[in-house]
């Protein structure tokens, strides 16, 4: 018998309970259904007194009681279980799932284990009619279960990576007298391809947005790396910091085919003077107190173009007067705004809502988007 407390802890550490359906796991259950021609397939995780089905076909629900379940039996014994005709097996003949709904007769399962080996659930196939299930079938089910196990573990790895990325974002925004600052980031998947930073140092508010094109682990690593590079040695000017990031990132283009664009800028909070370097990002705007929009774009190329292509970087300058707002976003925001009049929509939102409310609205729209992209946005308002 296995140690239930240890098993439960291992399951919880995987962070998969009550998570949405995942196409990578659903693909395996669909395949199992087609290969074995069964009406019901489930990836069941045994959680305290219930089963949580990460994926299921034909069972009509993502939760079921643990008590008396075949999957509980499989997990407790930590071994494959094949019941060709439950009504003919003494142990299961009186089981409520056999005598009552769904009137199970056939059940075959392979335990799913946590990365530490603890049995946390099953991949099981079920039928209301008896079936025979030979050695070859069992080997096939075992292979499919290993696949599911890999996908579940990968999910856990992604979860760890997402936590690290989250920890690298500013835990709290700097408080600057006379300014209101709001920022948020919403990843399309577990990891975001963009990173931001806002730091106050000796009266200068330095902000950074690094956006790696594409989604997933590679772009997330590139974005995190860029932000880290830009945050190092804060005494450098923004142009120097971008120049040095250029050199460090040169290997990314071409070999890894990753693009990173960035904005790196200083606001002198006393005077409102802005010094901004734009590396192919192009999405920084100033909404003046009188309602006019200005795009703060320099003509700089994305990071890491290499000596054969690179050009000298030049900073763009402006001044924030009281009532002016600086808005910086990733291109994911463009996809969710009104195509006809994105600036109008941003201006209107910022007129009705304060910076916090407007940023929250951007996150809300990002969550609703049919084809989600990573969205990062921040707003800095000079109040007085």
């Amino acid at each position: 018998m296995i140690d239930e407390a240890r098993r439960q802890a291992a399951l919880e550490a995987m962070n998969i309970l009550d998570t949405p359906a995942d196409e990578r796991v659903d693909r395996v259950t669909r395949l199992a259904q087609q290969m074995f021609g069964v009406p019901m397939v489930s990836v069941s995780l045994i959680d305290r007194d219930r089963q949580f089905r990460k994926s299921e076909i034909g069972l009509g629900g993502r939760e079921a009681p643990r008590k008396d379940s075949f999957c509980d039996y499989t997990v407790r014994h930590d071994a494959a279980l094949v019941v060709e005709d439950a009504s003919a097996v003494e142990l299961f003949a009186d089981n409520p799932f056999v005598t009552g709904d769904p009137k199970l007769r056939f059940y075959a399962a392979q335990p799913l284990r946590a990365p530490g080996g603890e049995p946390v659930g099953t991949l099981c196939i079920l039928d209301t009619a008896p079936r025979s299930f030979g050695e070859a079938d069992q080997a096939l089910l075992r292979d499919l279960a290993s696949w599911v196990q890999l996908e579940l573990a990968r999910d856990q790895e992604l979860g760890h990576a997402a936590l690290v990325q989250h920890a690298l974002r500013p835990a709290e925004l700097p408080r600057v007298p006379g300014y209101t600052i709001a920022a948020a980031s919403q990843a399309a998947g577990r990891l975001a391809g963009d990173m931001y930073d806002l730091v106050l140092r000796d009266g200068v508010l330095r902000f950074t947005l690094a956006d790696a094109m594409g989604k997933g682990i590679g772009p997330a690593m590139a974005a995190v790396f860029t932000r880290a590079s830009l945050a190092t040695a804060p005494g450098r000017s923004v142009v120097e910091a971008i120049d040095e990031a250029d050199v460090l990132l040169e290997c990314l283009q071409g070999d890894a085919s990753l693009f990173v664009t960035a904005v790196h800028a200083d606001i002198d909070t006393a005077s409102g003077a802005v010094e901004l370097v734009d590396a192919g990002h192009g999405l920084t705007f100033v909404l003046r107190a009188d309602g006019t929009f200005e795009q703060l774009r320099s003509t700089g190329l994305p990071l890491g173009m290499g000596a054969a292509i690179a050009e000298e970087r030049v900073a763009t300058r402006t001044v924030l007067a009281p009532g002016d707002m600086l808005i910086c976003c990733s291109d994911g925001l463009l996809d969710i705004l009104d195509e006809q009049d994105p600036f109008g929509q941003v201006a209107e939102t910022l007129k009705v809502l304060d910076p916090d409310g407007a940023v929250a609205e951007a996150v809300r729209l990002a969550r609703l988007a049919p084809a989600p992209d990573d969205v990062t946005v921040f707003v800095i308002r000079r109040d007085r």
Partner: protein, 110 residues
């Protein structure tokens, strides 16, 4: 997707058909490296039959541009679809990765 190369007198044309994504990106890089190694430093990537280009495709174009420029040549693109042009404009890359209506126009027009 299909990638084919045609060598002209003063330049070579790499034509990409179908989806230009991570699956094809390394092949473009290799093809460009091979051409440059043979001394063919002026390359046009013909995108007229490309249905879709993602960031990996764009990355490969930049990588190949770098290879050509380092060798003293250039890489230009022809007949790029609108969504590619808009990404190039947004990132300021339109200044270094120039689009031309046809492969022929890319080098003959200077």
């Amino acid at each position: 997707m299909n990638l084919s190369t045609a060598v002209q007198e003063h330049y070579a044309v790499i034509s990409i058909e179908g989806r230009f994504t991570a699956a094809v990106a390394p092949r473009l890089r290799e093809e460009a490296n091979d051409l440059v190694a043979e001394g063919r430093k002026n390359i046009v990537v013909d995108l007229s039959a490309a249905t879709f280009i993602d960031s990996s495709g764009l990355g490969a174009l930049i990588g190949a541009l770098k290879t050509a420029r380092v060798a003293g040549g250039d890489l230009r693109i022809a007949a790029a679809p609108e969504h590619v042009l808009s990404v190039l404009r947004l990132t300021n890359l339109d200044r270094v990765l120039r689009n031309h209506p046809t492969p022929d126009a890319a080098f003959n027009a200077g």
